[in-house]
């Protein structure tokens, strides 16, 4: 960024602010769009856009590694998988959704308000000293912090991910077990060639196990 010094002098002290507001102007309408767009897949894509803008915010705040991790894992990895899951499930989802009753709306409004208030209080309880020093964007620093100071949260995160992986494997396994149980009835029927081929395949693998 030191190459932009002169440019920054020309727009005195406002380049960061300008970029921040630009990204905010991009992010907030997209976030609203995630909520209010009737097409659920469109709102999925808008969510990717929101994460992209937040990645830009991190870049403005000199947190390169965080920004790139945000882009790679949240914007592309996770949200895209969510969008694909939406595509694979019922495409007429948005048409079946009905507006809630007044009762439900009041309840959800109260819950959302309480959550917002809690988060606001939590944020205000911490002091946020403004420092002009740029945080070192070194990956080494982040790595050291993760493995020493923040080792426990890191481990918790890894346990969470492990649980998710085990859950995914269990889901896949359950399907397999059902298909194993269904096999004999299919074999008794022996209706079409592809089914028998499939059965032969699974029986071989089950004996191998």
């Amino acid at each position: 960024m030191e190459h932009l010094d002169l440019l920054r002098a020309w727009i005195p002290g406002r380049l960061d602010d300008f970029l921040f507001y630009l990204l905010a102007v991009m992010a907030i309408p997209m976030a609203l769009g995630v909520l209010f767009d009737r097409t659920i897949i469109r709102s999925g894509f808008l969510l990717i856009g929101v994460f992209g803008s937040i990645c830009g915010l991190f870049l403005v705040l000199q947190a390169q590694f965080l920004a790139l991790a945000q882009l790679m894992i949240y914007a592309v990895g996770i949200t895209l998988v969510v969008v694909i899951a939406l595509m694979l499930t019922n495409p007429k989802l948005e048409k079946e959704a009905q507006p809630g009753t007044a009762h439900q709306q009041l309840g959800s409004f109260l819950v959302a308000g309480a959550l917002f208030f809690t988060i606001y209080c939590a944020l205000r309880s911490e002091s946020w000293p403004l420092s002009s020093e740029a945080v070192s964007p070194d990956v080494q620093t982040i790595g050291m912090a993760l493995t020493t100071t923040y080792a426990l949260p890191f481990e918790f995160a890894s346990v969470l991910l492990l649980a998710a992986l085990v859950g995914a494997i269990m889901l896949a396994k359950a399907e397999r077990a059902i298909s194993d149980k269904e096999e004999p009835s299919k074999e008794a029927g022996e209706q079409n060639q592809p089914a028998t081929l499939f059965e032969r395949d699974t029986t071989v693998s089950s004996t191998r196990r």
Binding site: H3, L4, L6, L7, W10, T39, I41, R42, F45, I48, Q64, F65, L68, A69, L71, M72, A75, V76, G77, L80, V81, V83, I84, M87, L88, P137, D138, V139
Partner: protein, 457 residues
């Protein structure tokens, strides 16, 4: 001698002609913007002159990339068609211009003038946005590599980031969003299926790809592409493909032997003190060779090239995610695909093949001999010192990078001419059951072997 010498000669002439045009133009543009304008304005004392100079220097890498991408894609399409023709005993396009030299230029012009159709029922906004999201990362993703392939030239230092390779990987994972978006917005079953396949494939194969790159970064101890390229200087034995620098002690030993030093053997025992280090070296070499294979496989899948071109399998889906696209939008998809091929080849060159390093070690290379270089340098001093047209410390590395990158591209074309397409379940099984465990095992092996031997001494 060779029955096909005439065709091979034509192909060679065509390739060198196009390469000269491409890199000559890029060179001229970056010199004009980055050197000539600041030189002209050097004597002007006004504020605006300094501002223009700054802006020029900031814009140079971007302009160079913007000039490079379309011409390079045109060349690569032509080279691919001609090379495939060679492999399949055909002639290839040879009608437009001398020996088909201008074929892709004509194709590009035709695509630009074609009608731009948005299908009925399509989401027009996303339909337009998709090619842009697909193409933009290939411009911005390549920027940090510019510094690495030009031996950290002053003009391109701006774009070098401390998170170098991570930035490249993160940005080059974005195009899949464009594919899914385009496939969904087209309102076409084939497009949607192609897009879903592409996403599944890209997410699966990104893991081994990133793991292989991370392993190299682990050996190098940095994410900075320029530093990784600089570490590998000094000949073939220093390259990451051969043990990630584990053989650089051997390189030093050979150098000492060639110089006739008496304590050369002592040097060898200093770098490889015990059997453990020798075993670690062998393990590292095996691991890095496998890593290159994993990287190339993952990269092939990531950019949807044969044998992993399931997203646009012509025999099943009409043309995959870009079925409904026409005119300039299709041209952008096409452009980005070939640019991505170039970018992954460049990453492989920088990370594994020593960047702009000559394969010959310094002690064998006559070109580094001062007796040769000094008179030649004097001859070109007007270009090098007065108008800064040529920077010898950038020129030769750039030539080597060009040779290596296009050799990898040619290899990709050869693979395309040879291997058939995967089936989708085979593809997933190969990715998750073979490549991911293999790259994890290599990661662990390298972590241990790295401790037993000194890398990049």
């Amino acid at each position: 001698m060779i029955a096909n010498a005439a065709e091979i000669r034509k192909f060679t002439i065509l390739s060198w002609g196009w390469l000269t045009i491409i890199f000559g133009l890029v060179w001229a543009v970056s010199w004009l913007v980055g050197v000539a304008i600041p030189l002209l304005l050097a004597n002007v004392q006004a504020d605006w002159a300094r501002l223009v100079t700054e802006i020029c220097q900031v814009l140079t890498p971007l302009v160079a990339v913007m000039v490079f991408i379309p011409i390079n894609a045109m060349f690569m399409v032509l080279a691919e068609r001609r090379a495939l023709a060679l492999f399949t005993v055909r002639k290839g396009p040879n009608r437009v211009g001398p020996d088909g030299f201008l074929q892709t230029l004509a194709d590009a012009l035709k695509l630009l003038f074609k009608e731009d159709i948005t299908p009925r029922g399509a989401d027009a906004f996303m339909f337009t946005l998709a090619p842009i999201i697909f193409f933009a990362p290939s411009i911005f993703g390549a920027l940090p590599l510019l510094a690495a392939v030009t031996n950290n030239h002053n003009l391109f230092q701006v774009v070098n980031l401390p998170t170098g390779i991570f930035y490249v990987l993160a940005v080059s994972s974005v195009p899949v969003v464009g594919i899914v978006m385009g496939g969904w917005a087209s309102n076409n079953k084939y497009s949607l299926v192609g897009a879903l396949r592409s996403a599944a494939q890209a997410i699966s194969y990104e893991i081994p790809l990133v793991l292989s790159i991370i392993t190299v970064c682990l050996m190098a101890g940095t994410l900075d592409v320029v530093k990784i390229a600089e570490m590998q200087k000094g000949g073939l034995l220093n390259w990451n493909i051969l043990g990630g620098g584990a053989l650089s002690g051997l390189n030093k030993y050979f150098q000492a032997l060639a110089a006739g030093q008496a304590d050369a053997h002592q040097m060898l025992s200093q770098y490889y003190p015990d059997w453990g280090s020798v075993i670690a070296t062998v393990v590292l070499i095996a691991c890095t060779v496998l890593l290159v294979g994993i990287y190339l496989t993952g990269a092939c899948a990531e950019i949807n090239r044969i044998p992993f071109d399931l997203p646009e399998a012509e025999s099943e889906l009409v043309s995959g995610y870009n079925t409904e696209y026409s005119g300039i939008k299709f041209a952008i998809f096409f452009l980005a695909e070939f640019t991505n091929l170039f970018i992954v080849s460049t990453i492989a060159t920088v990370m594994f093949l020593g960047g702009g390093d000559c394969p010959l070690p310094d002690w064998l290379n006559p070109l580094t001999n001062p007796a040769v270089t000094q008179p030649v340098g004097k001859f070109f001093s007007f270009f090098t010192d007065r108008i800064h047209l040529i920077d010898p410390s950038t020129f030769f590395p750039a030539i080597w990078v060009i040779i290596k990158v296009y050799a990898l591209v040619f290899f990709a074309i050869l693979v395309r001419g040879t291997l058939p397409r995967f089936r989708i379940d085979q593809l997933m099984a190969f990715g998750w059951k073979r490549l991911v465990p293999l790259s994890l095992i290599i990661f662990v092996l390298v972590t241990f072997a790295k401790g037993a031997v000194r890398l990049h001494v």
